[in-house]
């Protein structure tokens, strides 16, 4: 075993060539010299530029692809791209599951971020977003009338996403996603097991939308947090323990409608 730091010289760190390739490309993207959507070049070109073997280039590419900084187009060519929110979010969600976080931990964060979303949406909401919220509300009512718990919980997820989007704060939109991805699936169970659940949900949504339309900060804050506490209560009434780790569900796919 060679002991690091035992001698006069520092250990020479040779990073593998594929890492250097990956870092070089990533630096181009992050620095803005390579803009999202622009082609990165073919593998052969990269081989020429870096002076390494194609296998090595491909290893570097693979790492970057996973990181989301480059993507294969439909023609399989390489393009620079912005890391997608949902990609990062779902990765974080899986990390959270692995760390066996509890519903209570998720709830606290969701509460803070959803209320912040509502607050900021009061200031920034547009007529178009209000229309989309109304449309979402109709969908929720339909689903509730039909007793379709799956559709209703999906609509609820979309509702919160829309409010966050209406806040105009992209950091918020990103930050709330990982927790919400783990959080909202439980809604379905609650809707099915707690009779008054759907009704209270729709009422709360209604009040939030009205508050946003009226630019009423207090009401928006109030009803959003009521909505969330309802939810936690529903979770408990469905017989679950707040301090139990979120289950290991392999949720790779995202709910539809969260593509941006």
């Amino acid at each position: 075993m060679v002991e690091a730091g035992s001698g006069r010289f520092e250990r020479i760190q040779v990073a593998p060539a594929y890492q250097l390739v990956a870092e070089a490309i990533e630096r181009e993207v992050v620095s803005g010299r390579l803009l999202p959507g622009e082609p990165v070049g073919t593998e052969a070109e990269l081989v020429r530029q870096f002076g390494v073997n194609r296998s090595t280039v491909r290893e570097g590419i693979r790492a970057l692809e996973e990181g989301g900084f480059i993507q294969r187009g439909p023609d399989r060519r390489l393009y620079a791209c912005l890391p997608r929110y949902n990609r990062l979010s779902s990765r974080m969600s899986r990390a959270l599951i692995l760390h066996e976080v509890t519903f209570r931990e998720l709830f606290s964060v969701a509460l803070a971020l959803e209320v912040a979303s509502a607050e900021q949406a009061v200031e920034h909401i547009t007529d178009e977003m209000l229309d989309r919220l109304e449309e979402n509300q109709r969908e929720s009512e339909d689903a509730a009338a039909a007793g379709d718990a799956a559709r209703l919980s999906e609509a609820d997820g979309a509702f919160h996403h829309l409010v966050a989007k209406a806040s105009g704060n992209r950091v918020l939109l990103l930050s709330r996603e990982p927790a919400s991805l783990l959080f909202f699936p439980t809604t379905e169970m609650i809707c099915r097991r707690v009779p008054e659940g759907p009704g209270r949900m729709i009422t709360a949504h209604r009040h939030v939308i009205d508050a946003l339309r009226a630019r009423d900060l207090e009401q928006a804050r109030l009803w959003m947090s009521r909505h969330l506490y309802d939810w936690r209560r529903g979770f408990e009434r469905a017989g679950r323990d707040l301090d139990e780790p979120v289950e290991r569900i392999y949720a790779r796919s995202l709910p539809p409608g969260l593509s941006d």
Copy 2:
């Protein structure tokens, strides 16, 4: 050009073999069948198990490595591991920079999450964490006395990290990191340019620590938010515009002391 969906049959989607390899391994880790720390096996073993070429296995491995689900040990062998918080956080931070988010967006989220951290820390803080906060406070005072803006801002970053850790909420710890990584570097500039900055910071930290020790929710909330608003004000007084995109800084490395 073959038109997708033009015929009677759906287009057959063949995922590349390296993706299948990556997904298979990732599933093992996420499902818990392969526990963090356990060796994944050598490349040769994986070649046997999957029945593909070593190059293909390596491409799959590369992708997973970037995702953080497996890691090379010091002996270069493969081990399953939990995706590290900081890895994901720094990736998110870079994504935020690429999306050219503004200081204002970052600030709103940081405010919500830091205050939530303080609130929850009131309930969960331990004597050990209080000691570490006191130690941090001494470090801050030293740095301020020495007029060392870099050390002071680093201590401030560590302070907020400690408070989040004291909250006992891992989701919170994770959620606040991406924004804070982009946020706290500006502290140094503020400390240098705004004369009363360091003094106000230390006063605020003092009050937060005292409030946590006394389990005083109101005071903790109050001083943490004061601290943040001070900060935003410092940013403005340093002549920066809140709505200007955060610069493109290639910040791969994390500040020290955030390793967990």
